[in-house]
Symmetry: C2
Subunit: 312 residues, 2 copies
Amino acid sequence: MAYRSPATGGASGQSGAFGASGVSGQSGVSAASGVSGQSGVSAVSGVSGPSGADGSRSVSSRLLALLDVFTAAQPELTLSEISRLADVPLSTAHRLLGELTAWGALERGPDGKYRIGLKLWELGSLAPRGLPLRDVALPLMEDLYEATHENVQLSVREGPAVVFVERISGRGAVPTLTRVGGRFAIHATGGGLVLLAHAPPEIQEQVLAEPLQTFTRYTIDSPVRLRRVLAEVRLRGYALSDRQVTEDAFTVAAPIYGHGDEVVAALSLVVNHQGAEPAHLVPLVLSTARSISRLLGAPNSQHSEDARHLRT
Amino acid sequence: MAYRSPATGGASGQSGAFGASGVSGQSGVSAASGVSGQSGVSAVSGVSGPSGADGSRSVSSRLLALLDVFTAAQPELTLSEISRLADVPLSTAHRLLGELTAWGALERGPDGKYRIGLKLWELGSLAPRGLPLRDVALPLMEDLYEATHENVQLSVREGPAVVFVERISGRGAVPTLTRVGGRFAIHATGGGLVLLAHAPPEIQEQVLAEPLQTFTRYTIDSPVRLRRVLAEVRLRGYALSDRQVTEDAFTVAAPIYGHGDEVVAALSLVVNHQGAEPAHLVPLVLSTARSISRLLGAPNSQHSEDARHLRT
DNA sequence: GGGACGCTTCCACTGACCAGAAGGGCGGCT
DNA sequence: AGCCGCCCTTCTGGTCAGTGGAAGCGTCCC
């Protein structure tokens, strides 16, 4: 049985939010290796919530734990590394990894290391909030890119974090810390602010209740200010983020609506903060976002009838 | 050396027709009517009944079987649909799906249907042959797109099939049948021919031994001709595919090399076959492919030895 | 040449998983 | 309206498949 104390060694829990690898400062808590519904990063002490507090038990959770150890920083691992990180006995890990490999979820390189297999990538590409969304948005993102040659990003919300689904960045554009498939703190990025502003109240409160990680001296770090900014975002219909992630990036972000006029994603344009002209950029982003919403079938984004023929 | 690569060994498994497995019964069969080989390249056995066979034994295989029922044609399924398709008892499916959902591999929509979750998409995005490859290639693909405004595609080989990893297509470009994350018959597409030409002999023989699915009257349908074409591709260093998939598409494809100068992917440009000028397009594709190879660290693609420091 | 490390295989034990059946809600059909 | 079928959810005991310790072996590093 699990004689190892589960909690103490904070290092055990890996998964969690792997933000930008290079970012200094305290790590983003992570934890939450359990299976409980809420990826409750917040579960700091608080309510006991004994259900599933500890250890992976069932086969499936072990299987998933094995997959969970793969991160952007460590995309290739050996058997024993996986066994240690996932806290699964070596022989069990060996067998399960063998099954995963046979199925194609994992692949083994010439060096014997395990890596995520293409089959899993194919499967993941079926996620409605992933590629299908991207497929609709990409052509219009291309247009925005060609018009500006800046960073164009598409992001969605996953719990209290923002996940980047697509990104176009020219060589001359401002460098950003984001990566497609990567997570980031929701209160810092422009797209995150849009998504948070339209998130359910409980999510907002959850974010507001936790310490706000800072990246630059401009990063929003007080709940009061964040609350005010969110209200502003809702009011104006777009978000601005001035050097809140890196010292030279200025972001304009707008919401993208789905079938039921709920916010399903955010479109953001990241430019150099020097010479940025919000008055010029905001209409560009807003109109592109609206066009994407229309393609997604958002009622409020349907113009009159002139948009009919734009459907593919 | 090192450890044996289990790659092709017993990978047969159930490469299960991933494409349009018309499981819905009903009248949906029409699509596959004309197709002899269907996409089931490997599944030769005509055992239609649920009798015997059934490899689902271990828990993990059932878990994976549950995931395997999601296809591009059916990205959202109910519990009982999944149970039927995966041939897993209802209660078992219910429990396993619950665990998958708790972990984030699946999500449930407001209608209760299951769909692939964003977490799985994030995980899949770590596949070395998926996004990382894409991240390197995309900027150069962008350049090629801006120069031509045609379809630019990036594909890799997975067993005896070709998988499309990235695709840029303008609104004015020729329509193609491909989809990012989707599979296709390897002998028909331009990128597939490149990948097959540089694939291990056993893969080539496997493809040559099976009936070659045809899409147009120009599709290569004889092993003899395919063999000749492959030799030609190796000799010239690029592949041409004239209306072999659709009646109006002309494709130029070139190999992309990795660290060890092995072919890891294919870059293809799809244009309208009318007015296509291979003499003009081939150098464009070749040079772009070579640039990507160089970024990937392919020795033979380095211009001189001064490129040493480009290695990551 | 010794030691450490990592991968693979084996096998007896046990507790986690499987499979039916029952309960309750929703929507379509007559 | 009422009926009926479909679907989802929960529960319980028996059984077997998953578990993991340990040993064998190859490789790499001191």
